[in-house]
């Protein structure tokens, strides 16, 4: 590449690289370095402690609670959202008239900011005037109003349902785009050959959507931790405590930045590991197909 072109390429890339360094690389580096210190704003300590924070983390019962909850509250909404979103996409793909309007309406929950979703569901679950209580009582499912977000048996499910409502449209949008990309002659040929709906799904549609499914599910697993804090603050007790809630509590309530950074770094490593395994599985299957 001529020197002038190279200068142009670097010149155009430089702003993005500078922004990336300041908002991603630098904070990441600082977080990793904090994880080896006892940096605490209340005690005003900031000394190198080696891997002591990591040792403490593995002995902390909250770590295992957060790990299980993070996995459960990360995976369950994605499965639920995917199933509903896929169903919506299949229906919308078949509809010829008014598809644009229906797709716009179905997308509404996705465009609502997550903080608004959290407050909306707090109202829906309200133990005194919540719509969920009124509806279930009128249907005869419950006899008295329930504090859905206050009981350990119901709070995690309530959180998952809020996520599903918010995330399903994203899956719908991605999968609908994928469905519309499948050549119609392939589908028509399979119909002519006598393939059933299930066979078409298994041998044509799902394999064609595999890459989209892979990317959208992994994105959702990474993104979906913003509703819990305004909805339950990790409670009741620690039944909805996830890594993100725990990091926030440690950093901004207890001001233990060293320990918060340790949790954050470990969470990042876990996400990278899960993503790598998932992508490997997906790409492996793709090769097999």
């Amino acid at each position: 590449m001529p020197r002038r072109d190279r200068a142009f390429v670097f010149g155009t890339l430089a702003p993005a690289i500078i922004v990336l360094v300041f908002i991603f690389i630098y904070p990441l580096g600082r977080s990793i370095s904090y994880s080896f210190t006892n940096y605490n704003l209340i005690n005003r300590t900031n000394e190198f402690v080696g891997v002591a924070n990591y040792g403490q983390l593995f002995h902390d019962p909250d770590f295992y609670t957060a790990l299980v909850n993070t996995l459960a509250l990360g995976i369950c909404p994605v499965i639920g959202g995917f199933v509903i979103g896929f169903a919506q996409a299949l229906v919308l793909n078949e509809i010829k008239w008014g598809r644009g309007i229906l797709r716009g309406l179905a997308l509404l929950p996705w465009v609502v900011p997550q903080i608004v979703v959290a407050y909306l569901f707090r109202f829906i679950y309200n133990p005194s005037v919540g719509v969920s209580n009124v509806l279930l009582r009128d249907l005869g499912v419950i006899h008295q109003f329930q504090p859905w977000l206050a009981h350990p048996s119901t709070a995690p499910t309530a959180v998952v349902l809020a996520y599903i409502w918010n995330e399903a449209p994203f899956f719908m949008l991605m999968l609908l785009a994928g469905l519309q990309g499948i050549p119609t002659d392939v589908i028509e040929a399979s119909v002519v050959d006598g393939a059933t709906w299930l066979q078409r799904m298994r041998y044509i549609i799902i394999p064609s959507l595999r890459r989209i499914i892979g990317i959208s599910t992994i994105l959702m697993v990474i993104w979906n931790f913003n509703i819990i804090w305004p909805l339950t603050e990790g409670g009741p007790v620690n039944w909805t405590l996830t890594f993100s809630v725990w990091v926030y509590r440690q950093a901004f309530q207890d001001f233990d930045l060293g320990y918060a950074a340790t949790i954050g770094v470990l969470w990042l490593l876990l996400l990278m590991l899960v993503t790598a395994i998932y992508i490997r599985i997906i790409s492996g299957r793709e090769t097999a197909v």
Binding site: L41, I42, R44, S128, P147, A150, H151, E233, V237, F252
Partner: protein, 434 residues
């Protein structure tokens, strides 16, 4: 011709500019010394209900002290400690801060607050000793009371009457309260006889604390002991559990939700500050007139429990000075005005629903504080208020306390919840000395 017109316009503009400059020169003329600007971080300016009142108080101060300008920094209440901590770390602590009970101890541990012993010497005798103690940390006086808002016992007269109870005789003891709650639930099944915060959040501990003081002569975290496994604590938590199990109180509610229920006649008894009067009027305008409110609601001291006396927790608004304020003298002048000036009481403290922090001001304003609930606060509640044993790690510790409360109201074993709490706190306070 055009040139002449331009000259006239220019002269006009110049005149206006000079007049404006002259105006500010006149205003500044009242200041004979050097002019100083101090910063005042407060949540009153961040809340619609009090923004105007605090602005009025600041304007009155600036009029009285023309050499000092107050730069009001609005911080939402829930973010006060975190934002002030970040500001302190960045060597940008405000000159003056509005705080709430518990915050001074956390911020003092960070080295954010100045010792006020010398400055406040002239007024400490005019403050009830437990109220003064609430602003102390490690032997230093780091905050002064700004507005007295300890928790008292609120009752709904209309609901009591509907349940066949005497609306003018609120429960005097915990046993009576338990009996009254049973009566209300039996007669009015849709009403919650009682409400306390059991949602996640440090304020749940504040709301629970009057009962810890009512059940225990030496409440937990006092006298250098954790004290969560003592029999009185178990008794209090068993009582909480009983109320939750019988449906006598809503479970998982925060203060806002409980206040809404109380204001709409769905809760009979609760524990809250004197500002409840304003909150009720805002939520339910039919109770805005004083007479309507006094007909429907009453306040009393917290029922007497096994500890032998009526006790309540001091949960007040305070004012503190930044440890490294570059304008300490000006900051103190402002603080003194906020704490001791009748003008501030009239403009800010009384309209926001609090009570004057100085005993002399409480007497001076007794004619204005003539509502029955205000009299109860001055005569019965403030004298019985005792500080919550706050310390630097309190916010971290309160998370464990709320966990224990939530386990219990959800039906968990009381003994094991309190044992777990004691164990968790031992990690936080290794020497068993909170």
């Amino acid at each position: 011709m055009r040139r002449a017109a331009s000259s006239i316009v220019f002269a006009g503009v110049l005149g206006v500019v000079l007049m404006a400059g002259g105006g500010s020169a006149i205003a500044a003329g009242a200041c004979t010394g050097s002019h100083q600007e101090i910063s005042f971080a407060n949540w009153a300016a961040a809340e619609t209900a009090t923004a105007k009142e605090v602005a009025n108080a600041i304007a009155a101060f600036e009029k009285a002290s023309p050499c000092i300008t107050v730069n009001s920094i609005a911080i939402p209440f829930a973010e006060t400690v975190s934002q002030l901590t970040v500001m302190t770390v960045g060597n940008n602590t405000p000159d003056v801060m509005e705080l709430s009970s518990g915050m001074p101890q956390a911020l003092a541990a960070e080295g954010a607050l100045a010792d006020l012993h010398e400055d406040a010497a002239s007024m400490t005798n005019d403050i009830q000793p437990p109220i003064l103690q609430d602003g102390e940390s490690q032997g230093r006086l780091v905050a002064l009371p700004l507005s007295l808002t300890p928790h008292g016992f609120w009752f709904n007269k209309s609901l009591m009457k509907a349940a066949g109870l005497d609306p003018n005789r609120p429960s005097q003891t915990v046993d009576e309260l338990t009996h009254d709650m049973a009566t209300i639930k039996a007669k009015l099944p849709k009403v919650y006889p009682f409400a306390m915060m059991t949602a996640k959040g440090a304020y749940a501990v504040v709301n629970m604390w009057p009962w810890m003081q009512t059940f225990c002569k030496t409440p937990p975290m006092s006298n250098d002991h954790l004290g969560w496994t003592q029999p009185c604590t178990e008794q209090a938590f068993t009582w909480f559990q009983m109320m939750a199990k019988k449906g006598w109180m809503p479970v998982g509610n925060n203060m806002k939700a409980n206040r809404e229920l109380f204001a709409t006649d769905q809760v009979a008894f609760t524990i809250d500050g004197p500002y409840m009067r304003g909150i009720v009027a805002t939520i339910n305008p039919k109770y805005a007139p004083n007479a309507a409110f006094a007909d429907a609601f009453g306040a009393a001291k917290v029922p007497v429990g096994p500890s032998g006396g009526s006790r309540t927790a001091i949960d007040i608004h305070q004012i503190a000075m930044g440890a490294h304020s570059a304008h300490a003298a000006a900051a103190w002048t402002f603080m003194k005005f906020m704490v001791s000036s009748p003008q501030d009481m009239q403009d800010f403290i009384i309209p926001e629903g609090g009570l004057p922090p100085l005993i002399s001001l409480q007497k001076q304003f007794s004619a204005q504080l003539d509502q029955p609930y205000q009299q109860v606060w001055i005569k019965d509640i403030i004298p019985e208020a005792r500080p919550i044993p706050y310390n630097a790690n309190w916010y971290h510790a309160s998370d464990f306390m709320v966990n224990a409360l939530q386990k219990v109201v959800d039906g968990g074993n009381v003994k094991s919840a309190l044992n777990d709490l004691e164990t968790e706190l031992k990690h936080l306070y290794p020497h068993d000395q909170p």
